[in-house]
């Protein structure tokens, strides 16, 4: 009796939970209301079966509970009943399957006028490519991929020259226009998923997969990787921004094409030297850093990383948080770099500065730090040397007090949480495991033991 009552409570409790649950599909932002329809339909059909069969069972448990004076009915089978049940079930299943297959047919048929975007996944970030004015994506090859050619563009293919290359994790698409995402992975499996669009698809190295949808409302929608892609899988996040046409056009005009990137002028260190004069007070004449003035060592840091941070400081993506005192100082200084050329010049100069190891100031438990650092090494390198592909700066041989202070800022959301800080979010997620001051010091103490040497590239594939 108790058991049957519990079963009945579970049945109605489950229904009630379904009705009152605040956790349900997010607000739809694409044309795929048909997917929501098939899902709702499935809820109705399965819900009826769930209640009917379980209630029947609970009723049987009550009605036919043990009685020593009673015998069970001896009825090994009932062909007619079994036939009816088979038939009804088959009808129910067909009622679910048929609309499902029709919607799937829509999903595999991309509208001819769809606007094409290529989403490129790699451990653990997104980048994007648009076909440019000719409407054709240029040829790419895995063997062409390098830090200087992250998309693997074939420089000889004329179709690729006007391709728009977006190394930010954010891509824009116009409202109410069907968009086809071509999905390409440079390394392992990934998955391009936006909850509000409903559709998702894996990225598979060696082939191009796709999905399509028509965005139906403006806004920013997070792209989550939903295929396990290694240690930092949970920190792989992109963004699709749905714009009105005019906003979209303005955004698109500001993005560089492949040929523009190739034509970009390298920075001039002799001009940069002049610009650097304002940096000397805090960062030192040789970029060696100065802890008393909160200026970290710059010499030896990767150029692409300094470029990104200077741009972040300039745009307010970094150094705008009210608790980020030193960040605010730097944001003010970065504002003095008038344009991209000024940034390139100063970076070019810093790259000429001598890279001498700074004094170590942090004491911690190296063994404990080594354990923590296994979470860092995949991006920052086993020697703390930094990797452009994972967007991760060099750690070894840089100012240890600065790394410790930044880790705490990342952990506490003082740095990296700004929506325009493209890769800061990853460090917010990662630094959250440094719960205590000791753990911060331990990992920095371990970093202090690292050489910072780039490992020799062991494997090379023959070009053919």
């Amino acid at each position: 009796m108790v058991f049957a009552i519990v079963l009945i409570l579970l049945i109605f409790g489950s229904l009630l939970f379904h009705v009152v649950s605040p956790w349900y599909l997010t607000e739809l932002a694409s044309n795929w209301s048909t997917i929501d329809f098939t899902l709702d339909l499935t809820f109705w059909v399965t819900g009826v079966v769930f209640v009917a069969v379980n209630l029947f069972m609970a009723y049987a448990v009550i009605k036919f509970r043990y009685n020593r004076n009673r015998r069970s009915e001896y009825k090994p089978e009932d062909k007619k009943l079994e036939g009816w049940l088979t038939g009804i079930t088959a009808v129910g299943v067909a009622a679910l399957l048929t609309p499902g297959l029709f919607v799937w047919a829509d999903f595999v048929t991309v509208p001819e006028d769809a606007h094409v975007v290529e989403a490129v996944g790699q451990q653990w970030n997104w980048s994007y490519r648009l076909p440019g004015e000719d409407g054709k994506l240029g040829a790419v090859e895995s063997r062409f991929i390098s830090d200087d050619n992250p998309f693997g563009m074939d420089a000889d293919d004329p179709d690729g020259q006007d391709d728009v290359l977006i190394t930010s994790q954010t891509v824009h698409v116009p409202l109410d226009k069907p968009v086809k995402f071509n999905l390409r992975s440079l390394d392992v499996l990934h998955d391009f998923a936006v909850a509000q669009f409903r559709v998702k698809m894996d990225l598979v190295p060696g082939l191009v997969s796709y999905l399509w949808f028509t965005p139906t409302r403006t806004g920013s929608f997070e792209v989550l990787c939903e295929e396990h892609c290694g240690l930092a899988h949970f920190a792989m996040r992109g963004m699709v921004v749905v714009d009105e046409q005019a906003d979209y056009d303005a955004w698109l005009a500001a993005q560089p094409t492949y040929s523009e990137i190739l034509a970009m002028k390298a920075g001039d260190p002799s001009v940069g030297e002049g610009t650097y004069a304002v940096c000397v007070a805090c960062h030192g004449a040789a970029g060696e850093g100065n802890q008393a003035l909160n200026g970290p060592k710059l010499a030896g840091q990767e150029g692409w990383y300094m470029r990104r941070q200077l741009q972040n400081f300039k745009s307010g993506a970094r150094g705008a948080h009210e608790d980020d005192e030193t960040g605010k100082q730097m944001a003010a200084m970065a504002g003095m770099l008038v344009d991209d050329a000024a940034i390139e010049n100063v970076i070019a100069y810093i790259e000429t500065l001598p890279d001498n190891p700074p004094p170590t100031t942090i004491v911690g438990d190296v063994a404990s730090g080594e354990k923590i650092y296994r979470n860092c090494s995949v991006c920052h390198g086993v020697n703390g040397e930094g990797k452009a592909a994972t967007r991760a700066p060099r750690q070894a041989g840089m100012s240890d007090w600065y790394i410790a202070s930044q880790l705490k800022k990342f952990r506490d959301g003082i740095r990296g949480a700004h929506p325009d800080d493209d890769f800061g979010m990853q460090m917010n997620l990662m630094a959250a495991i440094l719960q205590t001051e000791d753990r911060v010091n331990d990992v920095v103490a371990y970093i202090n033991t690292l050489s910072g040497k780039k490992p020799q590239q062991v494997a090379t594939r023959e070009n053919h």
Binding site: V6, W23, T38, M57, A193, P205, L224, A232, V378, R461
Partner: protein
Amino acid sequence: MSETTAHDAVDFAPPAEVGEMELYHAKTWIGKYVWSQDAKVIAIQYGITAIAIGLVALVLSVIMRLQLGFPNTFSFIDPSNYIQFVTMHGMIMVVYLLTALFLGGFGNYLIPLMVGARDMVFPYLNMISYWVYLAAVLILVASFFVPGGATGAGWTLYPPQAITEGTPGSDGGIILMLLSLGVFIIGFTMGGLNYVVTVLQARTRGMSLMRMPLTVWGIFVATILALLAFPALLVSAIMMLLDKLIGTSFFMPAMVSLGEQTAYDGGSPILFQHLFWFFGHPEVYIVALPAFGIVSDLLSTHARKAIFGYRMMVWAIVAIGGLSFIVWAHHMYVSGMNPYFGFFFATTTLIIAVPTALKVYNWVLTLWRGNIRLNVPMLFAIGFVFTFINGGLTGLFLGNVTVDLPLSDTYFVIAHFHMVMAVSPVLVIFGAIYHWYPKITGRMYDDGLAKVHFWLTFLGTYAIYYPMHYLGLEGIPRRYFAYGDTAFMSESSQDLNAAITIAAIVVALAQLFFIYNMIVSYFRGKKADPNPWEATTLEWQTADNPPKHGNFGPELPAVYRWAYDFGVPGAADDYIPQNVPPKDVKKA
């Protein structure tokens, strides 16, 4: 002609056509209990090993839940070992616990007893099978201790990431995992051939295939599935080992890894997925079919009623087994395979719902007009039907390719397959252990402790997995260490995660009642009746309780009827064992 009107009973059992097999009766303690060739002892060896490694996986799941419920509170959990725990939890539970326990454990104990055989047909091979399985488990455990730790590739081990640097345990860990799987499959094949041949060859006089208890049918068909499916896993493990160790490119295309060019070229990651799921989907039924069979027998015995639609049940098992080989790519709807596959695999997948639903109807109809004794095994059996209905119905969401699009790779999937493949079979395992405990040990378990164990496990697991579906509907992805600030995820989803974690801890602790009960009752439990449930099948009719080596007395039992003669009109008792001929049935 007898006065009773039984479904399938005759006074004649055909004479034995071959002599009895000779058994090697060991003389030493070690021969009897360690290097044992007795299927019952081997079954217990399998059972204890599987449960022990299963407890490791249970602890791993609690650690995962701690991070998900209370993110970044515990400094011993980090992204690296979190994904290793996820991986090892999954692989251990699916292969090393469920497969080993159902086939190696219940298969070994029940097949010879239930078909009326002295032992498995190849006792020596049977013994080796267990020791090879143990070796596989030890290799697996060793992988925790190699540099870099166990593999963190996810239990599906998808390349390229399974063997590239960006995944924890991509050196020693993955190598030992693949080796362990290979060893497991070798061990399983030895056992599996035994189970199939024993069922086909060693049934006693009168035990026709259509008189076999559904437990044997379930294990028999599951074993055939496993013998056909595991080779696909074996070849994928070997190919991946070659990719890892000598740089072949079976599954590895031209690619970079963490920004460095690799030497791989021309392989196909999707090929691995097809091979894996060609194994992996039948694997679901390798676990489910024995559970289906066992639960049929528990329901019938404790409801004192003939199983409803026996023939249909047998054909459903066979049909599900067959269909399970043509649905595998429903795990791959969003894998980037040719999307036109979706039409075919969605159709086959939804067709498999029909025989599965029929089994559910027949279980429920077995209760109808029964005389239901709510013994502990029956609580678990009915609990199974409830959770299986839930898990089966959510399969209709994921199997239908369109509905799968928003749900794939989210917590909806986790909730679905745990409901259908973890909670449901585990409820059957517990029910079965309580059911056969008096036969295996000769003693009764403590009823009160067993009921506490049931209620905490049944309600606790439902509290874990039912709400979890709704996290998936919201779009929360699986295999994430932490979620950080993600705009579309509600703040309250974190509260729900915390509640689920608390339920998971309760369920994990509830297993202590089970373990305590099993151990203490073994020494102090009440002496059990040889047939405490008044069951009909042959294992309850043995001369000794527990049965000795050779199972039956001097003569093997002959079988005169099917396994479900409960409530036969005109008979004095409400059950008639399979070895009682109609002429010997006491009339009412």
